[in-house]
Symmetry: C2
Subunit: 298 residues, 2 copies
């Protein structure tokens, strides 16, 4: 039995994702086989441990960010829904995503010429490369990558007047409590809009799902919609995230782009590289149960 | 803080769904606000408690069966996928389903003339009517109901030669460990087949999901397929079930019935009565991530 008197999330050998504000009354828990790393970075508390089923688990500020076993469900969906909703993405911006998983998925698109990644916490990158090497799978060495270690919000402010814009912007942040707080407000969507080509696609993790906080999702979608006329809600299914699913907000300024379906067909090679995403699940990710559909989409 | 020295699943005020055989290394946990009932029936351990988010929670043999908050996701999908995959169901059989939720959903179909329900454990019915009255919502008083308190497997053996068959049979059992063990074997599918009209539809909960036990699901689907040429896997998303989702196996002897879409349109009144099911989610419930699709459907 692993005990860690120094980490409040571990008790009697179990990691317990207890958060009274975000998901009161419930907690997902995982057996801790061994603690691989535990420290506070400049920005957040970082815990990495191993579990016999889920493999290596990355936890930031007490919230599970990814596990080796199910990470592809999140990385593939947040990446490829946006990438295939665009007809020919060449310049891609990743905000956050320090574990390298989204970078790995973006790098699979051969047509992409430049990948800019902006991560505030260099220790997340270093630790993920060390303890979760399959997340980035070598993509940090991709020649197309321009890695910037700074705040994503400030980066967008700094490039506001730049000529070169992005085709796809993926916000792979942690939840609003902590360093990612600014990523869930209208000003952020305006900055994204400034940095986007006319037919560009934006996608972000919503930090919530329909079971946890439906009204928040409606409000977040409406906030995005004030900036992007074409805004939709979809989700991916990840067993180690609360309720087993996580919402994504996907937006474009071009109202004629149907975000709910891929805009180009996948080659056999492209499909072979993917474990979760396919054109059918792209579309079904936008289908909601009636009660949630009424609140979010009506 | 609620403590129950008599119940091994409750510790320090938390109900912990720990099961080393079915889902090792992980456990979903819920705060116990108060214990409403706790005893062993003739067939299984029954625990009922309340949680501030999920309301009243029914637990059989340590496994969460339903909570007031999210039960409709399961009851509606296991019922209406089968009911709407049939063009005009008049005689319906429910095996298990003692909490009354499936019965409530079947009773919403005005065209149904006879509902036979076979539940082995009368105490589940009595306790659900007392502590979870919204589950059955008065449906136990429906004039079309013929309630039989006996083993579902034995019931099917007894009616094997009967002239009157069923249009839809729904197996709403607990998991294979315990009294429901026989419901997951080929002989059971044969008994279902004997009891079914030519265009009849069978649906059952699989007890697993794609993250937990993909090979088991493939085998269970293949077992069903040896009896029913038209067999499909689909799922529903329930936050209090392990991995946040539960697989369903749906079958028909008629290969020309497309199980993946409703065979009749819902009236406005029908759609108004439903919180989760709609024609779009019927179809998307059959869409799987690529890696799972390859194992289960290829």
């Amino acid at each position: 039995m692993v005990n860690s008197p120094n980490h409040p999330c571990i008790k009697d050998g179990w990691f317990r994702e207890i958060n009274d504000k975000s998901f009161p009354g419930q907690a997902f828990t995982l057996v801790v086989d061994s603690i691989l790393y535990q420290a506070r970075s400049e920005f957040q508390d970082i815990l990495i441990f191993s579990n016999k089923v889920y493999g290596t688990v990355l936890v930031l500020d007490g919230i599970i960010q990814c596990t080796e076993f199910d990470e592809f469900a999140y990385q593939e969906m947040i990446t490829h829904i946006a990438m295939f909703a665009h007809s020919n993405p060449k310049r891609v911006l990743i905000i956050g995503g320090g574990d390298g998983g989204v970078l790995r998925e973006v790098a699979k698109h051969k047509g992409v010429e430049e990948i800019t990644m902006v991560e505030i916490d260099s220790s997340v990158i270093e630790l993920s490369r060390k303890f979760l090497p399959t997340l980035s799978d070598g993509a940090f060495d991709d020649e197309r990558l321009d890695l910037k270690l700074c705040d994503g919000f400030k980066f967008l402010e700094d490039i506001a007047g730049a000529q070169k814009k992005f085709d796809v912007i993926i916000t792979d942040s942690s939840d609003p409590e902590g360093p990612a707080e600014a990523f869930f407000q209208e000003r952020y969507f305006q900055l994204l809009n400034n940095a986007l080509n006319p037919d560009g696609i934006v996608i972000m993790q919503s930090s919530e799902n329909i079971w946890l906080n439906l009204d928040y999702l409606r409000d977040l979608k409406n906030t995005a919609k004030r900036v992007f006329p074409n805004t939709e809600y979809c989700y991916t299914m990840v067993p180690t995230y609360t309720s087993g699913q996580l919402g994504l907000i996907v937006c474009s300024n071009n109202d004629s782009i149907p975000l709910i379906a891929p805009q180009r067909s996948l080659s056999g090679q492209e499909q072979e590289q993917l474990r979760y995403y396919n054109p059918q699940i792209h579309s079904s990710a936008f289908v909601l149960p009636t009660w949630a559909d009424k609140v979010i989409n009506k």
